[in-house]
Symmetry: D2
Subunit: 106 residues, 4 copies
């Protein structure tokens, strides 16, 4: 998201509707959990799910995650890349290969 074009669209959308008053960090964190629950509902009883429904719910999770990042002055891709560097040291290839254990159990 080098040019932040989607984030700019989201910002305009929110500004036009005067919704930033509702978008405290805490409310956006709640919104992410709520939408994550709706995404999970696609898989409630089945490993397989309707692709269009999953796409729509995943888009909602991402939307609120982008809005929270923007509110905190953070770039989504940058924080993902930074966190990946931390995770890399917790899960060295030779220990973690083919295993789903948590780092403290490797």
């Amino acid at each position: 998201m080098s040019d932040n074009s989607v984030v700019r669209l989201l910002r305009e959308f929110v500004a036009e509707r005067e919704w930033s008053q509702f978008h405290s960090s805490s409310n956006l964190a709640k919104s992410i959990s709520i939408e994550a629950g709706e995404l999970l509902e696609c898989f409630q009883w089945d490993e397989e799910a309707e692709p269009m429904r999953v796409q729509s719910e995943l888009a909602d999770v991402l939307t609120y995650a982008y809005l929270l990042a923007d509110r905190l002055g953070l770039d989504p891709d940058t924080i993902v890349a930074e966190k990946l560097e931390e995770t890399r040291t917790k899960y060295p290839v030779e220990k973690a290969r083919g295993r789903s254990s948590k780092y403290d159990e490797l």
Copy 2:
């Protein structure tokens, strides 16, 4: 994310560890919910939260959301932009301005 550079980093990270076997869509959807809960925990008793902790948990949510998008062959920014167009028609500016009601209650 025009060049998908972060997604490429994530793909390599997962491939080196042979973790794609664990990354079914259903497991990634669970992971998003789990990380969304950890993000929400930053705000459990307080509207304010430690910025570094929020950044770290938000990065985890985004990481799994990017992995799920990638698994489904979707670009995160594109699906956010597409969903925004749908939301725009549900929440016309003149009806939604300054209100947090759901579209069916506007």
Copy 3:
């Protein structure tokens, strides 16, 4: 929970620590989501989970659910029984038998 004995224990525990100031309905709802995420984490990569860990996380979900019910003046068993009557009419045996579909798709 005819005699409410566990709820009484929870109330005393909270009162002794002067924690009811933190237990707004909204904070308790967040807490239920957070603990539900920790419960789900037991099953993140596997259908099977450690029984003692599941028990411990399920107890946390129930604890906050009981506290929210108590704050709202509701008895947990009573509201479950009442909701079951509603669900019964949405999912008649002859239509719902052996099917996991939502009521509006039966």
Copy 4:
């Protein structure tokens, strides 16, 4: 829930519909997270929520929590009481009074 009467009602309801095939522990844990998200949605933009809606969503969380407890052969009230004893030692009154900090920060 000394006589388990609600759990008995839930068991009958599930058996009549032949739904226990869907109620793996993992699916019930997902269901608890999904319903916890719907409960949280009552408080998405506001500290206050409609009492009847909260009651209905809380009943759904409790229903799946009771079903998971039952599947694992556990009594809800008993595991809440047992967990409370553990929490008591982590949060001694003199340290925890009036504070919302986690036990490792007290």
